[in-house]
């Protein structure tokens, strides 16, 4: 199963990984807030932020190609919003600014999540008095992400093992059925997980 390697880089050992999680979370949150706020005329600050992030990335030993891939995966969502800026007069500058800002924000968060184990972040949120239900939801999401990914992988493999013709259309159709099956199974599992929580006193 490959899903368990999803968060493998957060368990590396580097100067960045060794920083206290509270410091990293506070700094990352502040950085994101600041970058979202910096106006265009102070664009040099964004360049400075990028330089700092680059230095931290190199120091953290998280592979650059890995971060780039993750960034590219998220970029279309950002671009979708930024493109709207092009439709107003003088939108070119705004577009660039939006793209730069959001890329830096994503980079910060990717770096945080790949240098700090998620469980440490959860513990921190709980200590910082973030509403318990929100932390519990995040914890459940993290936990079952892996279970669901394993399950979808098993289903995909089971389907592949019996896919004897290579028709593109048939493959797409089967892929869609895997997704719908996954929804159904996730729903059923949610019922059982809730029962397990109740069994240990959840109210």
């Amino acid at each position: 199963m490959h899903a368990q390697y999803l968060d493998r880089y957060s368990f590396l050992d580097s100067p960045v990984h060794r920083l206290p999680p509270s410091l990293k979370l506070a700094a990352a949150t502040a950085a994101v807030a600041a970058m979202a706020w910096i106006p265009y005329r102070h664009g040099a600050w964004l360049a400075a932020a990028a330089a700092i992030l680059a230095a931290l990335t190199l120091l953290s030993r998280v592979p650059v190609w890995f971060l780039l891939k993750r960034l590219l995966l998220l970029e279309p969502l950002v671009a979708g919003v930024a493109i709207l800026a092009l439709f107003q007069p003088g939108g070119g500058k705004l577009f660039l600014l939006l793209m730069a800002r959001s890329t830096l924000c994503l980079w910060t968060m990717l770096l945080l999540s790949n240098t700090t184990p998620f469980t440490d972040l959860l513990e921190l949120l709980r200590r910082w008095r973030v509403p318990g239900l929100l932390v519990t939801t995040l914890a459940l999401m993290y936990r079952y992400l892996f279970v669901l990914m394993d399950e979808s992988q098993r289903m995909r493999r089971a389907r592949q093992s019996r896919t004897l013709t290579a028709g593109r259309l048939a493959q797409w159709r089967a892929g869609a059925s895997v997704i719908s099956q996954l929804f159904i199974r996730a729903g059923e599992r949610a019922g059982r997980v809730y029962a397990a929580m109740c069994a240990r006193g959840w109210t």
Partner: protein, 261 residues
């Protein structure tokens, strides 16, 4: 097991019936008693109603409790009002460990029950340490569940249940998907626990090893109950209910002098 004999049974189930929402009968007039400290096997084919029965012991089913309580724990009826206390007393271990391990780390998961009991953080911490030690997983506190083997997951599940200090353990297929070593460790673990245990399993060899008594459930009804060896040796009965006479009872060998050929 013998109604009317035990003065203070750990668990009594009286005329328990349950229908699934679609109307099919899942349990019909189930009636049995577990003596304090007994280890009893719950056997029967797939779909016999074993899991459904276990869910009732913990009050997870039925969704709305009936008027006449069917489940009695330590002489007290399980009702809507005392549900939290009864859930603490009956520790339920689910069939799929992934359903039961819903927290992000082992320590968090074991601490879940004690936290729900509103114990002090020190007491929670103590119980986590003690339970993990009991199942032989000290030092696993920080591990995320998806980095554990099946056997380790099972033991964390058990630790999470033990941390609530239950008097009864209801175990659903505890040995399924375990490798022989994991299964052996589990058997030793269960044999060493003082709690009254009801073990639902298809692993009949495990039942022979651990349980003095068995309940045979089929079609939602108890079709037989009594000493493990006499029931599991009844070839006709076993085959009629989708089971078989386990090999440990078939072959006499130095480890098992009591087998009847």
């Amino acid at each position: 097991m013998r109604p009317g004999v035990d003065v203070n049974p750990a668990l009594q189930v009286k005329r328990l019936s349950y229908h699934y929402p679609d109307g099919t009968a899942a349990l019909r007039q189930v009636d049995f008693t577990l003596a304090q400290g007994a280890r009893v096997g719950l056997i029967g084919p797939n779909g016999a109603g074993k899991s459904t029965l276990l869910w009732h012991l913990n009050g997870l089913l039925p969704d709305s409790p009936g008027k006449t309580p069917a489940v009695w724990i330590d002489g007290q009826p399980l009702t809507e009002k005392n549900l939290p206390e009864m859930r603490r007393r009956v520790g339920l271990m689910f069939q799929d460990a992934n359903d039961q391990l819903f927290c992000a780390t082992v320590a968090e998961d074991v601490a879940f029950g004690p936290r729900q009991l509103r114990l002090s953080p020190q007491e929670v911490q103590q119980r986590v340490q003690r339970s993990l030690q009991q199942v032989g997983l000290s030092g696993f506190e920080k591990r995320p569940p998806h980095h554990l083997s099946v056997g380790e997951k099972r033991r964390v599940c058990l630790a999470g249940v033990l941390a609530c200090q239950p008097s009864i353990l209801a175990l659903d297929e505890p040995s399924s998907n375990l490798d022989p070593r994991g299964r052996r460790e589990l058997i030793h673990l269960l044999a060493g626990l003082p709690q009254t245990q009801l073990i639902a399993s298809h692993d009949l060899e495990l039942i022979v090893e651990l349980c003095q008594q068995v309940l045979l459930l089929d079609g939602g009804q108890i079709v037989a109950q009594g000493p493990t060896r006499s029931i599991l040796n009844d070839e006709q009965l076993m085959l009629a209910h989708g089971l078989e006479r386990p090999h440990v009872l078939r072959h006499a060998h130095p480890h098992n002098p009591s087998a009847e050929p």
